[in-house]
């Protein structure tokens, strides 16, 4: 097997990273090479991947690197592997805030936790444990727990949540807490305010 040309290496890296097949036109733009040179390099790349675990395929109007069929079994096992099962402490805290106060916005969660909740909320939405529940008056997206959350925690509904020892969070009291959270947004020195950076450090 011959070493790849610099152009071939670029193409290999591009096909490796691209989530979608790359049309010839895109490869031309990305590498600055001509179509004839690209075609040669693609051919060399395909030859290089013969008898490997990957193959170059022309599919969906472009070129893609993909796994060979004979590796399908191992790949399926990888896909079937349960994703990280454990909830991180940040995720658990975020879930708790939403479960007790839903519907609730991200800034409200952040205020209660003392740190921004963006990543935790996004992760929980992706895992299907939280879902959007309309918008608050100000326009911020609100979140609530999902059916999957109830199944996973064996709850029939919010009324099954264990009561909190020191706080009463049902009915008007919960309303009151939410109102205070919302108002905290107006106050410059809200006690739990998230200390946010002035810019990316």
């Amino acid at each position: 097997m011959t070493p790849l040309s610099p152009l071939g290496r670029q193409i290999e890296a591009l096909l490796f990273l691209s989530p979608e097949p790359l049309p010839m036109e895109a490869l031309r733009e990305l590498t600055g090479a001509r179509e004839a040179a690209l075609a040669d390099a693609l051919e060399a790349l395909a030859a290089r991947h013969e008898e490997g675990g990957l193959e170059v395929a022309e599919v969906g109007g472009g070129f893609a690197l993909r796994t060979r069929p004979e590796t399908a079994e191992a790949c399926d096992r990888l896909r079937a592997r349960p994703p990280e099962e454990r909830l991180s402490p940040a995720a658990l805290e975020t879930l708790a805030v939403v479960a007790y106060l839903e519907p609730v916005t991200r800034p409200e969660i952040g205020r209660l936790r003392g740190v921004a909740a963006d990543a935790a909320v996004a992760g929980l939405v992706e895992r299907g444990l939280l879902e959007e529940a309309g918008r608050a008056t100000g326009g911020a997206v609100q979140y609530r727990t999902s059916l999957a959350f109830q199944q996973r925690f064996g709850l029939r509904g919010a009324e099954d949540l264990p009561p909190l020892e020191r706080f009463e969070l049902s009915g008007p009291e919960a309303e009151e807490l939410r109102r205070r959270l919302a108002e905290a947004g107006h106050m410059a020195e809200a006690p739990g305010a998230v200390a946010e950076p002035a810019d990316g450090a």
Binding site: L78, P107, A116, G139, E183
Partner: protein, 240 residues
């Protein structure tokens, strides 16, 4: 690999935070803390092109240090007697500071080691594509009217904005100007839509400001073929 940030000349590249600068100064025989002009120090730490590579976190640490140095200098200028009995409080405070400087020094050197590492590993890109999920279940009966309603809600005017939902600002204009410039370094035209793909609306708006700022400085020109269409950011001198 030898990492000796403390021995390098004073410039922004070795400025490793307020305490480190202090350590640097203290360990450099040739610098007398009291002969050092504060203005020179600012210049040395931030460099002439401070505006181009403004880093708020580092700069704010410098401000803190400058305040402390200014105080030191003023005490000295007031001329406390050299042979005066040292104030035990001052001695203790000095020892505490020394301990902190010694305790923190390894991390500042480790940071320099990390910087070298990062430079050595800068070229690698990881695929990080999520595994194709198990086949999504077919949606339960779709209700076309629900689509129309959802669209209708989105198009209808929003209620008056309230400050309650404001998320804290996490992007800065200088940082975005920097990012835009480094993207432009390739000398190619950029697509505004591609630049802001996946970012939230606030960052998108800030990026637009950044593009306008860079255009104002004459580094690029902006072209928009159709109203609401993509904006092309074209480096000055690049072929159209």
């Amino acid at each position: 690999m030898s990492v000796e940030p403390l021995r390098q000349p004073l410039s922004l590249d070795v400025f490793e935070g307020s305490l480190d600068l202090l350590v640097t100064l203290l360990l450099r025989e040739e610098v007398d803390l009291f002969e050092l002009a504060l203005a020179e120090l600012v210049g040395a730490a931030l460099g002439e092109s401070a505006l181009d590579r403004f880093d708020a976190a580092t700069a704010s640490e410098l401000v803190v240090l400058l305040a402390a140095l200014a105080e030191l200098k003023s005490r000295r200028l007031l001329g406390e007697a050299e042979d005066e009995e040292p104030d035990p409080d001052a001695v203790e405070a000095r020892e505490r500071l020394a301990e902190r400087l010694v305790a923190g020094a390894p991390y500042r050197r480790a940071a320099a080691w990390l910087a070298e590492r990062a430079a050595a590993c800068a070229g690698h890109r990881y695929r990080r594509l999520a595994l194709a999920p198990a086949a999504a279940p077919a949606p339960p009966q779709g209700e076309p009217r629900a689509l129309a309603e959802a669209m209708d809600r989105l198009l209808r005017a929003r209620p008056a904005p309230s400050l309650a939902h404001l998320t804290p600002r996490r992007v800065s204009l200088p940082a975005l100007v920097l990012r835009l410039r480094s993207a432009l370094r390739q000398g190619r035209q950029l697509s505004f839509d591609a630049l802001v793909d996946g970012v939230d609306r606030l960052e998108e708006a800030m990026m637009l400001l950044a593009a306008l700022e860079v255009a104002r400085r004459g580094e690029v020109r902006l072209e928009q073929a159709v109203p609401f269409g993509d904006i092309a950011i074209i480096p000055v001198g690049a072929p159209t």
